[in-house]
Symmetry: C2
Subunit: 262 residues, 2 copies
DNA sequence: CTTGCCCACTCGTCTATACGAGTATGCATG
DNA sequence: CATGCATACTCGTATAGACGAGTGGGCAAG
């Protein structure tokens, strides 16, 4: 247990009314911000800090837990506490559903990830008929049952997004949309072939902390929120033909929209 | 210290390899999800749970800290731990900058909040010239200095959003845009009067955990992420005439966009 | 050289205790 | 009745100790 390089971290201010564990967290945070520790670097161990500050181990752990909650660091059992690297982000532009992007055979996700040089995967594919939730039913116009298409998207082995599409049975049942592989251009291409020419989409965006289930399927580190996006697709007759419910790891995404000023 | 109503919470499973504090958190979470506790309800005190489960206080506190991290509950010193109420959300539609909304005298925020029956406020108004950050400079096209307009928005006394607009000095200096009150229709109306007819906006959206400073200015409860929105306004000549950097309390907002399918 | 074990170091979980500080309530005092 | 204090309850902070479990390096045996 080598002593901490002096000057790396300061001393505590016993006269301060700021709690000791907060002071320690502040100093670590500042050291990270100032670049004393870089992404992926190992922070001093709990034992190091116990010795350096002369406090008990629980106090140090308390400090770490603050930084974890902020998403700044993550602990690895048996190894140490590390500065959390910012993962590469995926940019979603608002024209990502434009018809011209729908021509080729591969899905938008695959094409885009390949172009960005990362390795895309889709798994947990599940297609089945089920009872519509209240919310989905309201959005699709009072349908009882729907076709649900679930899938998880991964980039370089890391899950980044979990999405479920809901479609009214009278549209989707018996079509290729009900097959695991919906064919080139995805379900939007199939919908248009079926006569539902798409007119516009509505997207609702929320951000919140993940549920335990979401932590699991997206393998989220603590302190990482999710972006919850609900998209409704409307055809030219004004009918809602699909609702897509997407939960994204917030640290992996930047959403981008272009709005007319008219 | 009245005993806990039996049946409200279950027992621990000593054979489970799930940590005790997680089991307790699970049971509390489930009880909340099932509606055994409603928004604003007080959960059993730490002492109650210590007695009920026969564990130490730190273990119970550990459970609570999980739920706090999820944004499910919040603790009040001297009172207890409560189920966090879902605050009313503000919906931001993608047409909120349409020209027709810019006619009246009051700001969009005030009009909209009044209509929703809540009491809007704007404070911390600050207008000054300053050095442009790298990011802002890049977005505005390599300007050195900018006019910055900072303000905080509150609904019913609660801060919900903190925004800063940056404008190139050659556009804003000496105009009403540089005054604390930009006049009816806001700075977008002034920009158009100055000959910068607006063509479109670009919005970039991220979600992340707040910095300590953001926790303070937005008075955020723990477990509440922020939505970080960066909007760039372009005039008909393709020039970026304003960058607006907005940090919103994520539990107070739903963003809504409408996209053409073309 | 390879295999396998031991050991040191790491964080994870849990107990027990202590005192501080904010809140609410009831009771005694004025 | 009103004021103010005592008190009990709440969570906040901190200490000290114990054992468990994952990781990785070194060393000894094969």
């Amino acid at each position: 247990m080598s002593p901490l390089p002096s000057g790396l971290l300061g001393d505590l201010d016993p006269t301060s009314d700021r709690a000791v564990f907060r002071q320690i967290a502040d100093q670590l945070r500042e050291a990270i911000d100032r670049g004393r520790f870089h992404e992926g670097d190992k922070l001093p161990s709990e034992a190091d800090l116990v010795e350096h500050y002369g406090v008990s181990r629980m106090t140090v752990r308390n400090s770490f837990s603050i930084l974890q909650g902020e998403g700044l660091v993550h602990a690895e059992h048996g190894k140490g506490v590390f500065v959390r690297p910012r993962p590469p982000v995926r940019r979603l532009a608002s024209d990502r559903f434009a018809r011209r992007h729908r021509e080729q055979g591969k899905s938008a996700f695959i094409v885009e990830a390949d172009a960005a040089g990362s390795h895309p995967q889709v798994d947990s594919l599940e297609v089945k008929e089920e009872k519509a939730s209240t919310d989905v039913s309201a959005r699709l116009g009072s349908v009882r049952r729907v076709l649900a298409r679930r899938r998880r998207y991964l980039l370089d082995g890391r899950p980044v997004e979990f999405a479920t599409s809901y479609l009214p049975l009278d549209i989707a049942r018996g079509t290729q949309i009900a097959e695991p592989n919906p064919g080139p251009g995805g379900i939007y291409a199939r919908l248009e072939e079926l006569g539902h020419r798409l007119n516009h989409f509505e997207e609702e965006i929320r951000a919140r902390m993940p549920s335990p289930a979401e932590v699991k399927t997206l393998r989220l580190a603590s302190g990482v929120p999710v972006i919850h996006l609900i998209r409704t697709a409307f055809d030219t007759e004004g009918r809602a033909v699909e609702v897509c419910d997407t939960v994204m790891a917030a640290d992996a995404y930047v959403l981008s929209y272009q709005l007319p000023a008219t």
